[in-house]
């Protein structure tokens, strides 16, 4: 139990840093940076918790992104700012970077050796599918609150 808590805290801290870093790349105003950090930490540690319970990574990502969407709508209502401003920075730590990297590298290797090898092909397909589905889960999960609750009225 204690270990899980420590792992979650570690996760929350180290995903808050990229959330702030990428929020700065997107030029989020300075006074909103802490909120991006909070949303990012919450999202990523929630996903780690779900993964720990044994959910597949796609569903865990979907649920975590929906949570981020919900939290950021709360922030947006308080500050009268577009919710996507917080949300995109917050989900950056959950982007399937290693899967995408492995896919592309295997693809390039496949091109270079000019014959089909089953190992590389299976690596391309499995990593590529993971990348696509996690990305889809992220953005559809993020849009979930506005698809379910804010169907006819604007968020702010």
């Amino acid at each position: 139990m204690m270990e899980l808590l420590l792992a979650l805290l570690n996760d929350a801290f180290f995903s808050a840093i990229p959330a702030v870093g990428f929020a700065m790349v997107f030029n989020v105003p300075k006074r909103f940076l802490p909120y991006c950090a909070v949303a990012g930490a919450l999202g990523h540690s929630f996903r780690t918790l779900l993964l720990h319970i044994g959910l597949p990574i796609e569903w865990a990502t979907f649920a975590a992104a929906a949570l981020v969407g919900l939290v950021t709508i709360g922030f947006a209502k308080r500050h009268l700012a577009p919710p996507l401003m917080y949300a995109v920075a917050a989900i950056i730590p959950m982007i399937p970077g290693t899967y995408a990297f492995n896919t592309v590298i295997a693809l390039v290797q496949l091109t270079a050796q000019s014959e089909i090898s089953p190992e590389l092909t299976s690596e391309v397909i499995s990593n590529g599918l993971k990348t696509v589905f996690i990305l889809g889960a992220l953005s559809v999960g993020l849009a979930m609150p506005s698809l379910l609750y804010f169907r006819t009225r604007p968020v702010i």
Partner: protein, 253 residues
């Protein structure tokens, strides 16, 4: 309402929509803000059609309509401006701003970015934390920090000279990977693959991808597809940079 007033209001509304598109707002938000601003300023209707690099806006009042077209250009993502425009729209809706205040506030908007000396170390730290989250050891994280800091420095310096974004991403990916593979060359770390994967994560076009899928989900299919195409091109050009750097380092042939 006189014709010149309608002209004036339409100009302000289309200017707001143009700025929103140029600085990376999603289509749904652009449509919503320009319609609400138009109603708040006294128009009876605002219809807007957005395509990948232009927008057409028609304003309707007293049975008279004005249609105007604007070319939009990508200026990179700047949430400060989107936030400011949303605030202008809300304040106008509450009746605090009239046409003159809107014009004044919109003309005062200018893009401000974070200075390089904060941006570069922050991105270095971000990618180092990615490396840590993926399970890399301390040495791997340190390599990632230096690789992505130098990469970010290169990216910002190139962007200042208005080079093509695709070229920028390829060169940045090349430099970043060249430094990140030091872990392989000198066996500094037990997890030499992770710095290479983590340090190029700063090039992931996160905002265009999220924007494109949320556009497509909300029914703006053609804008969504064109943004998806742009994000894919950016990814491909960074892959080209990564591949050249890895072949120079002899990691695979």
């Amino acid at each position: 309402m006189y014709a010149d007033t309608q002209n004036d209001i339409t100009r302000q509304v289309v200017r707001v929509a143009q700025l929103l598109l140029a600085y990376g707002a999603e289509s749904e938000l652009v449509e919503e803000i320009s319609q609400r601003l138009g109603y708040a300023l006294g128009l009876a209707g605002v219809e807007i059609s957005i395509s990948s690099n232009s927008l057409v806006l028609t304003s309707l009042v007293h049975g008279r309509c004005i249609t105007t077209t604007r070319r939009t250009r990508e200026h990179g993502i700047n949430m400060t401006i989107v936030c400011e425009l949303q605030r202008i729209c809300l304040l106008t809706e509450k009746g605090l701003y009239g046409l003159n205040e809107v014009r004044k506030r919109v003309s005062r908007i200018e893009p401000r970015t974070y200075p390089k000396r904060y941006l570069v170390p922050m991105i270095g730290l971000s990618c180092a934390s990615f490396c840590h989250l993926f399970g890399g050891d301390i040495a791997a994280s340190v390599i990632t920090f230096f690789a992505s800091s130098i990469g970010m420095f290169v990216r910002v310096s190139i962007a200042k000279h208005h080079f093509n974004l695709l070229l920028n991403f390829a060169v940045t990916a090349f430099v970043t990977t060249l430094i990140a593979q030091l872990g392989y060359q000198f066996s500094l770390t037990d997890t030499p693959k992770l710095p290479m994967a983590a340090s190029v994560l700063m090039l992931v076009p996160g905002f265009p991808m999220i924007n494109s899928i949320s556009d497509m989900v909300k029914g703006h299919l053609n804008v969504g597809i064109s943004r998806w195409g742009h994000a894919t091109l950016l990814t491909v050009s960074s892959v080209i940079g990564i591949t050249i750097a890895m072949q120079l380092g002899g990691l695979f042939l």
